[in-house]
Structures are given as C-alpha cells and as structure tokens.
C-alpha cells in the first residue's frame, strides 16, 4: 500500500473504523473523543468504538440539553456537548510545579510525569477554530509550557458536521461547519446513500502516518459529493445568527445600554458559560503545601470573570455588580478580544447558550443592543 500524502482524499469504510482506532493507539496516541456520560455527550478516553455515542444525538436549545436516539447508526451524528478540548490542552486543574524545602531556601523539582500524546477524535470546525485562538492566547509573554507542551503532541482528527444544533452559529463567526486546513485528518461521515463510510482528508504527515496503517481506498467523486452535501446540509440547518459586523464598537461604545441591566437581572453569575466556552482562559493559582511543610505545589485552576473575588484589589472587587461582570465577559469575548488576540473570542459553538441555566443567549443580547444602540434606561430605573 502506497503511503498517504498530505492533501489526499481516501475512503474509509465503516467496517474498518476499528482499525483506525487501533492505528492511533499503535502510533502511541491516547485517543480521546465523544462518549456518553451523565446524560450528555462529553469528552473522554476512547478505548474502542463502543465508547463512542454510536446511534445517539442530542436536542439542545437555550438552557436545555437532552440525549435522543437516532434512527441510524451514525458514529458522529451529534454536535457539541458541554465539554470542549480545552479540558485537555488547558486542564481544569494543573500542577505548574513543585518544590521542596532546602534549608532556609527551596528547590524546584523536575516534573516526572510522562508526557501523553493525545489524539483528539471528533473535533468540529468550531473546535479547531477555538484551538487556533487558544494557541495565540497561551503564547503571550512566553509560551505557556503546559499548554504548548501538550498542544505540540496533539493529533487533531476533525469531523465535519452533517447537521447543526439550534444553538449553533458557526456560519456567523466564519468558523464552520466545513473544516479548513489546520487538522491532521478530517473525517466526513456518509451514512446515506450507503455504504456507511468516511471521507478522510489528510492534513499532515502525522495524520498520513496513522492512515497508512488503515485499509482505505482512493475516494471517488461520489464520496466527495456526499461529504460536500453533508456540510451544506449542516450549514443550511444553522438557525442562529450573530452579525459580527461592528460588534466590537457596538458593545464598547454602549456600556450604559439598558440591556446590560436587563441581562444582569437574569444572569446568575454561575460561571457555566465560561466553563463551557472553548476559548475562555481565565485561571487562578493556588499554593498547595504538604502538611509537614517540607514540600509544596503550585496549581493552576480554571477561574471565571463572573466570580466576585476575580477582580479583587485590596479586599474589594473592582467589578462588584453582576452587570459589570456580564458586561466584562461579553465585551471581552466579542470586542476587546480583537484588540488582544486579533480575532473574536467567539467561535459560534453555542455551548454558552445551551449550558446557561437560565438560557441567556449572547446572540439575542447583541441583537437587542443593535436594535436600539442609543437606548437609555427608563427614568424610574435610573439611580
């Protein structure tokens, strides 16, 4: 079998999919991908194909998510769940370093942990966009060793969407549903018309090296056409929209718009949106000393701009009101992110909409401000 080349398109039959998972493991990857847990499709280790949510999909909308059976046996017949790949690249809790007491001083200890190479199986186009953004976020003053150490070893196996959830708005943000070129392998699942198969596009040498171990055939025109039709179907299904034109100025120029107070009355400051967001990167550090006091560890864990103590200076939060905290989140995500990282911080995945317990929808909030940017609060609501 001739080795695969970057840019090549191959047909992988559904029956040979287990061989693909085996090839990933043989190449030394730990495979992580979508799996069923606690009534949702989350990300976890994929030991064999039975760990994948075959034949399942979800119904999601603002503040609601329910698993439902599909009427076919699609392997990737769903969209995005509460987890994003940041949980692997930027873990919720991560040890930054450890040190031991050394007389009156201290000494840093080398990290003995074996680096794991992950194969991210089932990244959607919006997920790839989120990783592109995170690559820049974690490379500010100096590359973050933890993030970039993991990122360098990661194999990105994309799956092009064949459908959209009601919360999806990737087409607005220009991130999907089709994948671009920054993947190692891109799969498009074709269930119908049969046979059940995948179109596999080779995006890198690392991807080719995996595919070389899997029985595939050159893709035919029918495979390519079916894949394009699937992506077109997903694009057509996208029902939510956020007009990105001028959003930066719209939000930054209207910090006193009454809609901020309106959304603040609904927002619980629960931090769910920031935890589910694939690009939210705020963190805090914690010192974790041993009880004996001879050893200590520095940990980083996810934090959120919705937490009151997040902005604390001299015991007082800078952003005390819920209004100011929601405004900070949305203006950062959609506006000042452009100044900081050269793009929007939003990829249109819709996770923050689904996982908001009160169903706050940022596309709706932006639309409300855009509808009447110069609106002022009614007099009785004024301070």
């Amino acid at each position: 079998m001739a080795p695969n080349a970057v840019g090549e398109r191959r047909r992988l039959l559904r029956a040979d999919f287990p061989a693909f998972l085996t090839a990933l493991r043989e190449r030394g990857y730990r495979v992580v991908g979508p799996t069923l847990r606690d009534g949702a499709i989350v990300l976890g280790e994929i030991r064999d194909e039975t760990d994948l949510p075959i034949g399942w999909t979800e119904r999601q909308d603002a503040g609601t998510y329910r698993l439902v059976r599909r009427d076919d046996a699609a392997v990737f017949g769903y969209t995005v769940g509460p987890h994003s790949w940041k949980k692997y690249l930027f873990p919720p809790r991560e040890r930054l370093w450890s040190a031991v007491a050394d007389g009156t001083s201290f000494r840093l200890e080398p990290d003995a942990a074996e680096p794991v190479a992950d194969a991210f199986l089932g990244m959607r186009a919006c997920d790839l966009a989120a990783v592109r953004i995170s690559d820049r976020v974690f490379d500010r003053t100096a590359p973050d060793p933890g993030y970039h150490g993991r990122r360098r070893r990661t194999l990105r196996i994309a799956v092009q969407c064949g459908g959209a959830a009601p919360t999806c708005f990737c087409t607005s943000m220009g991130t999907g549903p089709g994948v671009g070129s920054d993947h190692d392998l891109a799969l498009t699942e074709i269930v119908d018309p049969g046979p059940h198969r995948f179109l596999v596009e080779v995006g890198s040498e690392a991807g080719a090296a995996v595919l070389d171990r899997v029985p595939t055939e050159p893709a035919g025109a029918a495979d390519v056409a079916a894949a394009e039709a699937a992506v077109a179907r997903a694009a057509a299904e996208v029902g939510r929209h956020l007009d990105p034109a001028g959003v930066r100025e719209l939000l930054l120029d209207h910090p006193d718009h009454p809609r901020w107070a309106d959304v603040a009355r609904r927002c619980l400051s629960c931090t769910n949106c920031t935890m589910a967001c694939p690009t939210c990167f705020c963190s805090t550090t914690e010192e974790v000393p041993s009880l004996a006091g001879d050893r200590t560890e520095k940990w980083r864990r996810w934090d959120s701009c919705f937490n009151l103590e997040f902005s604390q200076v001299h015991g007082r939060p800078v952003r005390q009101s819920g209004l100011s905290r929601y405004r900070q989140w949305l203006t950062h995500k959609l506006a000042s992110w452009h100044d900081q990282f050269g793009s929007s911080g939003c990829v249109g995945c819709g996770r923050c909409i689904t996982w908001c317990p009160v169903g706050i929808d940022l596309t709706e909030e932006v639309r409300a401000i855009r509808a009447d940017p110069t609106a002022v609060a009614p007099p009785e609501a004024a301070p």
């Binding site: 930054l96 370093w97 040190a99 007491a101 050394d102 009156t104 001083s105 201290f106 000494r107 840093l108 200890e109 080398p110 990290d111 003995a112 976020v137 974690f138 500010r140 003053t141 100096a142 973050d144 060793p145 910090p255 990167f281 705020c282 963190s283 805090t284 550090t285 914690e286 010192e287 000393p289 006091g293 200590t296 520095k298 980083r300 934090d303 701009c305 997040f310 902005s311 604390q312 200076v313 001299h314 015991g315 800078v318 952003r319 005390q320 009101s321 209004l323 100011s324 900070q328 950062h332 506006a335 000042s336 100044d339 900081q340």
Partner: protein
Amino acid sequence: MSIVGEAAPAAGSNPWWPTPYRVERRVAETGDTVTLTLRAPTGTAPPAFAPGQFNMLYRFGVGEAAISIAGDPARPTELVHTVRVAGKVTESIAGAAPGETVGVRGPYGTGWPMDDLPGRDVVVVAGGLGLPPLRPALLAILARRERYGRLEVIYGARSPKDLVFYDEVQAWRRRDDLRIQVTVDAAGRDWYGDVGLVTARLPDARFEPARTSALLCGPEIMLRLTARALEQAGVPPERIFLSMERNMKCAIGLCGHCQFGPDFVCRTGPVFPYAAVRDRLDRREV
C-alpha cells in the same frame, strides 16, 4: 536556580518558576510596611529592570503577590521591594527575616517613560504606597538632575505614621533642586505639615504645564482626580502617566485577572498614559 535531575529543562525556561533570593536587609517602614533588600543566588545578578516595573514575590508554601520594584536602578545587584501587609501572602513576605528566602519572578510590565522626561518639568504625585514604585524614577532623575526641568513631588499618606522612606523624604525636603510637599489625610498636633488630599497641593506646585510630564501612583480615586486636575491645569493628557493596580495572578498575560478594557495591566501596564485610559478610568467597574 537549582533544578535537580535530567528531566528538568534549563533554569529560567519556564515562566512560572520563581528564583530563590536571599533576604539581606529588612527595614520596618511603618507599622504594617517593610522594605526588603534581596540578593540573587550566588554568581548571578537580578535581571535589569525599568523604574515602574514589578516582580512576583513568592514565599514557599504560602503563595505569590505582585510587588513593585522600589530600588535604585543605579544599584543593580540589589533588589528592593516595599511590601504592605494586606493578606497572608504579603504578611509572609513582609515577615521574611534576613537570611530567609523569597522567590522572585520578573520583572514585568511597562515602566515610567524615562526617555520622555529629560528637558521637561516633572511632577511626581504619590499616594500612600504609591511612593515605592515611583522611587526608582525619582532616584534616576536625581542622579542626572541637570537633564531635567523643575522637579515637583507631592506625597500624600493617610497619617504621618503611614509615610514610607521617611528619612529619604526628609533628605529630599532639604535639597534645593526639587520641591516636595507632604500631606496627610489626618494628623495629630505633632504634625506641622499639610493636611488634605494631594490634589489640594497641586496649585502650590511650580511647573510649566505645557512642558510638564507627570508620574502618578496611588489609589485609583487619587489617580483619577489628580490626572483630571493636571489636565485642567494644562498638562497634555498624553504626558500624564499613571500606574494602575488590578488583581494579578500570573503577571504574564495568561490568567486574565488584571484585564482593564483591552489591556492586560501586567503587560501593557501598569504604567499607562492618561490619554489612553481616561474613558475607562471615569467609568465604574471596568
């Protein structure tokens, strides 16, 4: 920094690693504020810093805090920090006795616009613990005093007991090449100086507004009022510089805590031209 084992990369290659410095001197400034002089590990020198920059200071088993550099830039072998006790981390740093160890990461952030100052009148306004971050700039100006125009210093504190670098401030008062006004919010009968806000001292300061650069550090309300007063007096807003304070965890633009509009205070600050931050400064809870 000593790193054991082969698995560890070269020292300094990880931006999260503190380097252990030895406390050489500890001077009590006030009841809750001390100045530490730190020495780098044997055979090394502290990295060069610009006046206005800060370090992350670390105590083993306790944690880290962002603290401005207060030392003389002409004495690069010693690292000087003035720390006020505000919580358990600063309490531990301030309690570090000579011979003990304080971890250091840095320096970080932007400094005062030292290149902008020669040939200009310089107005320095410090509120409370705003003096230590301004001290390196003041010492650099005094070291080459002839290069600058008038030098006006206004230093305010809560009470006479809260004045830091007291002996040095007294020595400055005796100099004839700078004017310093010291004012406190409240004082007893033993205080012969001014009482009131630093802004109330501005009309007595002698400077030519159009050729003045101003350096401000202190509580945010003081920065806002002083910058506004200086602008009204005719100092160009792009020549008024203020050092902002925000919650800081990483100091390398990764943790998100110090965001102030589009700025990460740890990277594009802490020193900002007033013109760049005026709108945000006038708004609450940004």
